[in-house]
C-alpha cells in the first residue's frame, strides 16, 4: 500500500499564525476588504511586502491574508505498507501462521515565512525551516491455533503466539532566518550563525508472548481465558522487566441454554469479563540524560525517576443483550468498572524545586459507566422506520494521588492531594484527590469577607485574584445521547442522526479577548445597557472588561460555559433511480444529498466538541479555535 498526503497550514487554535485573531479582533470601524490586497509594492525594497498598518497589537497579529498565503506550513507524507502472511495447516485441528508487516512513513515539513513577516518569526529576508522525520514500524508474529471438538458438546480452540513490535524514529530539523536574498527558501540562504539544528530519534521495541483459549458448549456458553506477557524497551531501568496480564470472560445465550425463547423475548445473552492491562512508562524517563543546548550539556528539566513501575488497569464488564418481538427490538446494556493503578503522571513542578516536571506512578483512578443501546424497526404504513438510541455515561474519580510516596532524593514520605497539570494563566487542569480527570480550574475575581465581588470605591471596577483557582467543572460530559432514525419509502431513504452531549464545561479565551477589544456582542450589549451587573449593581463596562478580558492574563471564572449541546450531526436523503433506466449492466444507481454537523444548539460561544485537544490535559479551552465546519455533499452510487 502506498499513501501520499500533502497538507498546508493545518491549524486548530493558538496565537501564532492564526488568521482568526486579526479577523475576530478587527476594529469594527475599518473595512477588512481593504486588507485583501495583502501585499503591496514597497519602493524601498523593490518588491511586494505585507500590508498591515496595525502592527502586531501585542498578539503577534499579521494581515490574515498574509498569514494564509505567505506563512506557509507545508507537510508531505509518503507512506509505504508492506505485509505478508503465511499459514500452514499441520493437521485437521492445528495450524501455524506467521505475519510480517512493515510500515514506513516519511514526513517532511517545511516552514516558509516570506520577507516582511512579523519580526518575531523571521528576519527582513524571511525565514525557512525544514524537518524530515522517518518512522519505520515493523510488526511480526507467529501463532499456533488449535481447534478441536472434545466431544459432541464441547469445543476447544486455543492459540499461542509470540510477537515483536519495533518502531524506529529519526527526525532532523534545520532552519532559521534568511540572511540576504528575500524569499529564497534554501539552506544556503539561511543565516548559519543563528540557525536551529536538531535531531531526535528513538527506538521502541515490545516483545510479547500470549495465549488464548476458548471453550464453548454447544455454541451456547463460551469461556475465554487469555494471558499475555510484554517485554518492553521502555521498561529498561524500571522496577519491572516485563508486564504480565490475564483476562477471563464468559458468555451464555440464555434463550438457547434455558430454552425459553418466546414471541416476546426472542434472544437473550449475558456476558462478563475481567481483564487486566499493563502499560510501560514513556520511553527515556527512567534513564536521566543531559540535553545539549548551544553545544553544551545542561541539567535535566524533569526530576529523574529511578523506581518507575508499569501502570495497570483492572476492569470488570458485564453485558446483557436482549431482543424482543421477533428481533424487532434490540436492547444492549453494558456496565463496567475499571481501576487504574500506578498511572504514570507528569505533573508540573514548582520552579522552586529546580525541576519543571517529574514522572511518577501514582494514584488510583476509578472509571465506571454504562452504555445502553436500544433499537427497533417497524412499518408505519408504507414507510419502513428504524430507530436507535444510544446512551453513554462515564464517571471518573481520583481515589488516591500520592499517599506516603517515598521521595527518591530525601527518602521522606510525601503525600500529595493535588497535582497541577499545567494550562494557561487563567485556566488550569489539575488532578485532585476526590476529583476527576479532566477537572478544569480557573482563576477568579477578588471577593470581600462576605463573599461579594470586591469593587474598588474609586476605580469602580473589579480586581482579579489571579492566583486563586476555583473548580469550574469537568471537560467531559455527564452523558452522551445519540438518536438515529431511518425512514424508507419506496425508493427514498432518509437518515437522521441527532447527538446530544449533556454536561461538562469549557473556557473561552476567545470570548474574553473579544470582550476586551470591545468587538463582541456581549461587550456591545453591556455598553448599550450602561454597564455590567456585579453584585446587583451596574459597573462601567470598559474597565470591567479590561480586568476580566485579558485572556490568559484575565479572569477565567467569568468565561466558563456549559459544554452541553445538541446537534443534527448527520442527515442524508437518497433515491434509488428506477432500474429500468439502466438495463442489465448496472445493478443500481443511487443519488442523494448528505450533510454533517448541520445544526447546533449550545450556549457556549464555541463548538464544545471541537474544544478538545488530542491530549489528556489541555481540554475544554477555546483559544481562537477554528469554528467547526458544516458540510453538505451530493453523492452518486453506481453498483455493477
Amino acid at each position: 500500500m502506498y499513501v501520499n498526503t500533502e497538507e498546508q497550514n493545518m491549524f486548530s487554535q493558538g496565537q501564532y499564525f492564526n488568521p482568526l485573531i486579526p479577523i475576530y479582533l478587527f476594529p469594527l470601524s475599518d473595512d477588512i476588504e481593504r486588507y485583501k490586497v495583502f501585499e503591496r509594492f514597497d519602493p524601498t525594497r523593490n518588491f511586494n511586502t505585507q500590508f498591515w498598518p496595525y502592527g502586531d497589537m501585542g498578539f503577534q497579529m499579521q494581515n490574515p491574508y498574509w498569514i494564509i498565503h505567505r506563512n506557509l506550513f507545508q507537510v508531505k507524507k509518503d507512506r509505504f505498507v508492506i505485509g505478508t502472511g503465511l499459514k500452514y495447516k499441520i493437521n485437521s485441528w492445528l495450524d501455524v501462521a506467521g505475519r510480517v508487516r512493515l510500515d514506513q512513513n516519511t514526513t517532511s515539513g517545511e516552514r516558509k515565512f516570506f520577507a516582511s513577516t512579523s519580526g518575531l518569526f523571521a528576519s527582513e529576508a524571511g525565514a525557512y525551516y525544514k524537518n524530515t522525520a522517518i518512522t519505520r514500524q515493523m510488526y511480526s508474529d507467529v501463532l499456533a491455533t488449535a481447534t478441536k471438538d472434545l466431544n459432541n458438546d464441547l469445543t476447544l480452540s486455543a492459540t499461542v503466539g509470540a510477537s515483536i513490535m519495533d518502531v524506529q524514529y529519526n527526525m532532523e530539523n534545520y532552519g532559521g532566518n534568511l540572511l540576504s536574498v528575500p524569499n529564497l527558501f534554501a539552506y544556503q540562504n539561511v543565516n548559519q550563525t543563528q540557525a536551529t539544528v536538531q535531531q531526535e530519534r528513538f527506538r521502541d521495541q515490545t516483545q510479547s508472548v500470549f495465549g488464548t483459549a476458548q471453550l464453548s458448549y454447544r455454541n451456547m456458553v463460551f469461556v475465554d481465558v487469555t494471558g499475555r506477557t510484554d517485554w518492553s524497551s521502555a521498561l529498561a531501568n524500571t522496577t519491572a522487566s516485563s508486564i504480565v496480564y490475564p483476562s477471563v470472560g464468559a458468555s451464555a445465550i440464555l434463550t438457547d441454554l434455558l430454552k425459553f425463547r418466546s414471541p416476546i423475548l426472542s434472544f437473550a445473552k449475558i456476558r462478563g469479563t475481567y481483564s487486566e492491562v499493563g502499560n510501560a512508562p514513556s520511553r527515556f524517563v527512567s534513564i536521566a540524560t543531559y540535553p545539549i543546548i548551544g553545544g553544551f550539556p545542561t541539567t535535566t528539566s524533569y526530576r529523574p525517576a529511578t523506581s518507575l513501575r508499569p501502570e495497570g488497569t483492572r476492569s470488570v464488564e458485564l453485558g446483557l443483550n436482549l431482543r424482543f418481538l421477533r428481533n424487532k427490538i434490540n436492547l444492549d446494556v453494558t456496565v463496567y468498572r475499571s481501576n487504574t493503578f500506578n498511572q504514570l503522571f507528569n505533573p508540573t513542578l514548582a520552579p522552586s524545586t529546580g525541576f519543571s516536571s517529574f514522572y511518577i506512578n501514582a494514584g488510583e483512578v476509578v472509571n465506571k459507566g454504562i452504555e445502553v443501546s436500544l433499537g427497533g424497526s417497524m412499518k408505519l404504513g408504507a414507510v419502513d422506520w428504524s430507530s436507535n438510541v444510544t446512551l453513554g455515561l462515564n464517571r471518573n474519580r481520583i481515589n488516591k494521588l500520592l499517599a506516603n510516596y517515598k521521595d527518591e532524593l530525601t527518602a521522606e514520605p510525601i503525600s500529595v492531594d493535588s497535582l497541577s497539570m499545567g494550562g494557561t494563566g487563567s485556566y488550569m487542569m489539575a488532578l485532585v484527590k476526590g476529583g476527576s480527570m479532566g477537572d478544569i480550574y480557573v482563576n477568579s475575581l477578588a471577593v470581600d469577607e462576605h463573599g461579594f465581588i470586591k469593587v474598588g470605591l474609586v476605580s469602580q471596577t473589579v480586581t482579579a485574584n489571579s492566583n486563586h483557582y476555583i473548580k469550574a467543572g469537568n471537560a467531559n460530559p455527564r452523558y452522551n445521547l445519540g438518536w438515529r432514525n431511518s425512514f424508507r419509502y419506496k425508493d427514498f431513504q432518509l437518515d437522521l442522526l441527532v447527538n446530544a452531549r449533556i454536561g461538562g464545561v469549557g473556557v473561552s479565551v476567545t470570548q474574553a479577548i473579544m470582550d476586551r477589544f470591545g468587538v463582541s456582542k456581549a461587550s456591545a450589549d453591556a455598553r448599550d445597557a450602561g454597564g455590567v451587573i456585579i453584585n446587583g449593581e451596574k459597573l462601567p463596562a470598559q474597565p470591567y472588561y479590561e480586568v476580566v478580558g485579558g485572556g490568559v492574563a484575565g479572569v477565567g471564572s467569568r468565561y466558563v460555559y456549559s459544554a452541553s449541546n445538541v446537534r443534527l450531526a448527520e442527515a442524508s436523503l437518497n433515491y434509488n433511480l428506477p432500474q429500468r433506466w439502466f438495463g442489465h449492466a448496472v445493478k443500481g444507481v443511487t443519488v442523494g444529498v448528505n450533510g454533517r454537523n448541520l445544526f447546533l444548539l449550545t450556549k457556549a460561544p464555541f463548538d464544545p466538541e471541537a474544544a478538545a485537544s488530542t491530549g489528556t490535559y489541555y481540554q475544554g479551552i477555546d483559544y481562537f479555535m477554528q469554528p467547526s465546519l458544516r458540510s453538505v455533499g451530493f453523492n452518486v452510487k453506481v453498483q455493477f
Binding site: 517485554w231 531501568n237 550539556p297 541539567t299 520552579p351 522552586s352 488550569m428
Partner: protein
C-alpha cells in the same frame, strides 16, 4: 502443491527463528536512552560534569537571544518589560493586552514568572549539580558557582523579595521561602566563600585558568572573578543600607579593602560574549529591531537632552528627524506604528556583548559610601568624577571634563511626538533640577541624588539594577505612568515596588509560596515594599 507447502513450511520456520533471534532484551537499555543527549557516563569524560554547567548558569542570568528559538522573549519578559521600563531607561512601543500589561501595572503572569523560572530552572539546578561534584573535591569550581549564584539571585530577590534559598535542592515537592534579609545574608556568605576560596587559589596557582573552556565572561580569569565578587558585594552592601546600616558599612569596607578589591578600570568589566563555540545575539537587538517592541525611554531622553550628554549617540540612535525621542511608560498606545519608526532605537548590534557590571558603577557606589562616611579609599567628589570619566571611557564618548564642570544644565522637558497628553512640560515637578557638577557644600541628600543620577546613566542598559536603586533612593526622577491599570493596587505616585510571586508557584507550591507571602509582610502585589526598600 506438496512443494509449495514445504516452501511455506520453511519460510514459516525461518520467521519463527527470526522472531526468536531478535527476541533478546539486551539492547533495551540502549533503546531506552535518549541518544541525542549526554549520558551519565559521558558526563565524566574530560571531567565534564564538574564545569560544563557554567554556560547554563551564565546564560540564564541575562538570558541571551538564540534566534530562532524564541529565546529572546525570555529577556524581554524577564527584564525588558520589567526593570528596563520601570527604570525609565527604555519605553515599550507595543500595547500588549490592550495596554493592560506590566507597563501599566497590570502584571502579566507569564511575564513576571520568567525571572523566577530562569533563576530556579536555569541557574540553580546547575549550581546544585556543580556543588555536588565540586564542593569538597574542587572548591575553586564551587566558588565560581557561588559567585554566579549570588549574581543571579540578587537580581531575582530584588524582583520578588523572599525566595526559596536555604531549602532549595532538598527534594520534596514543596519548598519554603526565606525572608529577604536571610536571602541577602546567604548571598553575602556565598560571595565571601567565592572571594576567599578564589583568592587562596590564585595565590597558590597564579595564572591558572582551569575553567577557561566554560567561562563566557572572563575566560576563566579567577583574579577578575574575585574583583567581580567584591564589586557585587559592594553593590549588595549599598542596597541594604537603609535596612541594616552597620552590616552595609562592614561589607562595603571589606570589599574595597580586599587586596584584589573592586573593579577599577573598564578592563575589569564583566560582559557575557559569544565564544567557546557558543553563539548568541544580544537580546536588546532582537527586541528592538526584530520585534520592534522597545525604544529609548522618555526619562533617558530628558536627562540626555538636558545634560547634552555626549554618551547619548552611543547608547541610542537618532530618530528619523535627527533628534533623540524616547517613549514614556504606562501610556495608551492605540497604534504601534506611531511609536516605532519616529522614536529612537537602541544603539546595539546583534553581536554586542551583554553587560553584567562595569567599573563606573563601583566609583559611584564608593562615592555614596564616602558621603555616608565609610572608608572608601577616596573622597566623594573624586570618586564621583572618576565614575563619570570611567563611564565616558566605557562608551568611547571622549573627554568628560566639560560635562563634569557643567553646573547649569538640568533634565529637559519631555515631548511625546506621537501624543502630547504624555508631555512633561518645563517647570513640572516631575522634572529633576539637579545638575552635573559636584557641589561639596550641598546636603548629603543632594549629593546622593547626583551620584545616583550619574550612576543611573552609567549602569545603562541594566534596567533591573537601575530599578532597584530607584526604589532604594527614589532617584532619578522617573516619570509616573499615565495609564494605571492596576485597579488601584499600585497607586501611581508609589511606583511599582516589586513583582508578584509567580503564578506557577501558586499552582504547584501553594504551601511554599504562602511562607513567602508571610515573609514579605504584606500582600503579594506590586505595592508591597521589599525588606531593603525603606526610608531610613
Amino acid at each position: 502443491m506438496k512443494l509449495k507447502s514445504t516452501i511455506s513450511h520453511k519460510i514459516l520456520l525461518g520467521m519463527a527463528v527470526l522472531l526468536l533471534a531478535t527476541s533478546c532484551t539486551k539492547k533495551f537499555k540502549e533503546y531506552n536512552t535518549n541518544d541525542v543527549n549526554a549520558t551519565d557516563e559521558m558526563m565524566e569524560y574530560d571531567f565534564l560534569s564538574t564545569g560544563v554547567y557554567f554556560p547554563q548558569m551564565q546564560q540564564n542570568i541575562f538570558p541571551p537571544a538564540q534566534q530562532p528559538n524564541f529565546g529572546d522573549e525570555v529577556y524581554q519578559v524577564l527584564q525588558n518589560l520589567a526593570g528596563d521600563v520601570f527604570s525609565g531607561y527604555m519605553g515599550a512601543s507595543n500595547n500588549w493586552y490592550g495596554n493592560s500589561n506590566n507597563t501599566t501595572y497590570a502584571f502579566i503572569p507569564d511575564w513576571y514568572n520568567a525571572g523566577f523560572a530562569r533563576a530556579y530552572l536555569g541557574v540553580m539546578p546547575a549550581w546544585l549539580a556543580i556543588k555536588k561534584k565540586s564542593e569538597f573535591d574542587n572548591p575553586h569550581i564551587y566558588a565560581l558557582a557561588q559567585i554566579l549564584k549570588a549574581m543571579s539571585l540578587h537580581r531575582t530577590t530584588d524582583m520578588y523579595g523572599p525566595l526559596p534559598v536555604s531549602g532549595f535542592g532538598s527534594g520534596g515537592l514543596s519548598t519554603s521561602y526565606d525572608n529577604q534579609e536571610t536571602v541577602y545574608d546567604s548571598l553575602f556568605s556565598a560571595l565571601n566563600y567565592g572571594i576567599n576560596t578564589l583568592t587562596d587559589y590564585v595565590n597558590l596557582y597564579p595564572g591558572q585558568r582551569p575553567m577557561a573552556k566554560y567561562d563566557l565572561v572572563y575566560g576563566g580569569d579567577y583574579v577578575k572573578w574575585v574583583r567581580f565578587a567584591n564589586s557585587l558585594k559592594l553593590r549588595l552592601a549599598m542596597r541594604i543600607v537603609d535596612a541594616n546600616a552597620a552590616k552595609a558599612k562592614q561589607m562595603a569596607e571589606e570589599a574595597v579593602a580586599h587586596p584584589i578589591g573592586v573593579m577599577a578600570s573598564n578592563a575589569d568589566n564583566a560582559v557575557l560574549a559569544s565564544g567557546n563555540g557558543i553563539n548568541f545575539n544580544n537580546p536588546l537587538y532582537i527586541i528592538c529591531y526584530n520585534f520592534d517592541d522597545v525604544r529609548m525611554g522618555a526619562n533617558m531622553e530628558s536627562y540626555m537632552r538636558g545634560y547634552n550628554d555626549p554618551r547619548a549617540p552611543f547608547m541610542f540612535n537618532r530618530a528619523p528627524d535627527g533628534e533623540f525621542h524616547g517613549i514614556r511608560n504606562g501610556i495608551n498606545i492605540t497604534n504601534k506604528a506611531a511609536y516605532t519608526t519616529p522614536f529612537s532605537t537602541l544603539n546595539v548590534a546583534a553581536n554586542t556583548p551583554i553587560r553584567w557590571m562595569s567599573a563606573a558603577e563601583m566609583y559611584f557606589l564608593r562615592a555614596e559610601g564616602a558621603v555616608r562616611g565609610w572608608e572608601m579609599n577616596g573622597t566623594a567628589q573624586s570618586l564621583y568624577e572618576t565614575g563619570i570619566r570611567t563611564s565616558f571611557e566605557q562608551w568611547n564618548a571622549g573627554n568628560a571634563n566639560a560635562y563634569i564642570a557643567d553646573a547649569v544644565s538640568q533634565p529637559a522637558p519631555y515631548v511625546d511626538i506621537a501624543a502630547s497628553g504624555n508631555n512633561v512640560s518645563a517647570g513640572s515637578n516631575l522634572l529633576a533640577t539637579t545638575t552635573i557638577a559636584w557641589n561639596d557644600a550641598a546636603s548629603n541628600a543632594a549629593k546622593i541624588e547626583k551620584i545616583i543620577t550619574q550612576k543611573w546613566i552609567a549602569v545603562y542598559p541594566d534596567g533591573q539594577e537601575a530599578w532597584s536603586e530607584f526604589r532604594r533612593t527614589g532617584w532619578p526622577k522617573v516619570f509616573p505612568v499615565v495609564l494605571n491599570r492596576s485597579g488601584g493596587v499600585v497607586p501611581t505616585e508609589n511606583f511599582v515596588r516589586r513583582l508578584p510571586f509567580p503564578q506557577t508557584e501558586y499552582q504547584s507550591n501553594a504551601a511554599g509560596v504562602a511562607t513567602g507571602v508571610a515573609a514579605l509582610g504584606g500582600p503579594d502585589n506590586g505595592n508591597t515594599l521589599l525588606w531593603w526598600d525603606r526610608t531610613p
